[in-house]
């Protein structure tokens, strides 16, 4: 059975026999709220490099996504870590924020995001309403 952690502020990492399955960390928006961009990226990559699937309730901002790609690239190492697979729902064209939402800072980055090791997660289908992925053990 996958082990699920809620990330409720407790920094301890539940220990489990991860050899029996794939661990899934579901990280709430509240948990990410007080973190800097680099802390968020570190939290994600540390989990993914351990072979975990990380699910973010609220996703990352475009700038953070850009930095995540950049940092991921610097950490890729032959036979150790080949990068990440990341999936979010595509942005709906009907939900594009207007000028005033953006000026007032009301633009939301909320989008459920799934991130995993590139060699363990394969996207089977993705549309605006559904992400279907195949996750394998290391």
């Amino acid at each position: 059975m996958p082990e699920v952690t809620s990330g409720d502020g407790d920094d301890s990492t539940p220990e489990g026999d991860v050899d029996d399955g794939v661990r899934v960390d579901m990280i709430s928006g509240a948990r990410m709220e007080g973190l800097t961009s680099m802390e968020k990226i570190r939290l994600i990559l540390d989990g993914v490099r351990e072979g975990n699937i990380v699910i973010l309730e609220e996703g990352l901002s475009p700038d953070e996504e850009s930095k995540l790609i950049e940092v991921t690239m610097t950490e890729i190492s032959p036979d150790e870590f080949s990068g990440i697979e990341i999936e979010t729902y595509p942005k709906s064209s009907t939900k594009e924020p207007g000028l005033f939402e953006r000026l007032l800072g009301n633009e939301t980055t909320q989008k459920l995001t799934v991130i995993g090791p590139a060699n363990q997660i394969e996207t089977l289908h993705k549309d605006e309403n559904l992400i279907s992925a195949l996750v394998s053990r290391k």
Partner: protein
């Protein structure tokens, strides 16, 4: 919504005008691996300066360093723009050296190539945040455009408020589907072309002059 979009476009154009100067605009050519970015960069550079930017290849990540061709002046329909073309490595979230082994490469070469590719992608992302004035986003029109990398990259470009021109490349191929790209990014205009065959380059140059002048 339509009014707000028009207002936003107007403000963007006015802001762009305020920052316009005689300096060449640095235009990054971005897109996924094997979309034809270097073929396009070479086509533009050869058409307007007679020189090429870099070697082209069907092997992914042939371009592993951002390459620049400076001072390319493009003139169309009375509009003129001088740009520095920045041909960037194909953006991806993963690089596995074993993929290069499929192209008859020795392991040592494949590992070196993958290391250079990762450095190149990191550099390209940094350029996108710091050092480009506009983006030409190149997509292979025979491939599904609804990928995470495309979604993220277009989102990043939009968040930087950079002018972006989306090009549907490889229209010379039978499987080409321009409408699929137009549907994926309806907020942007999609220009079809074949950089390899030189098809529809007149419209591409007209749009470059219009968007980046």
């Amino acid at each position: 919504m339509g009014l707000l979009t028009s207002l936003k476009d107007s403000i963007t154009r006015v802001t762009d005008g305020l920052f316009a100067s005689g300096e060449p605009k640095r235009i990054g050519i971005y897109g996924p691996p094997n979309a034809g970015k270097t073929t396009l960069a070479n086509r533009i550079a050869r058409d307007w300066t007679g020189d090429a930017v870099g070697p082209e290849s069907h092997i992914p990540h042939e371009t592993r360093r951002a390459r620049r061709k400076e001072g390319v002046t493009i003139e169309r329909d009375g509009k003129e723009v001088t740009i520095d073309i920045v041909d960037t490595p194909g953006v991806t979230t993963k690089v596995d050296y074993e993929e290069f082994l499929e192209h008859d490469m020795e392991k040592e070469d494949a590992v070196r190539r993958s290391r250079e590719a990762t450095e190149g992608v990191a550099e390209a992302m940094h350029w996108l945040r710091e050092d480009v004035d506009g983006v030409i986003y190149v997509l292979d029109s025979t491939e599904d455009p609804f990928t995470q990398v495309n979604t993220m990259l277009i989102g990043i470009i939009e968040s930087q408020e950079l002018p972006v021109l989306i090009l549907a490349n490889k229209i010379d191929k039978e499987e080409s589907d321009i409408q699929r790209i137009a549907n994926a990014f309806p907020q942007h205009e999609t220009i079809p072309l074949s950089a390899l065959e030189g098809q529809n380059m007149d419209e591409v140059y007209a749009k470059i002059a219009e968007y980046f002048a």
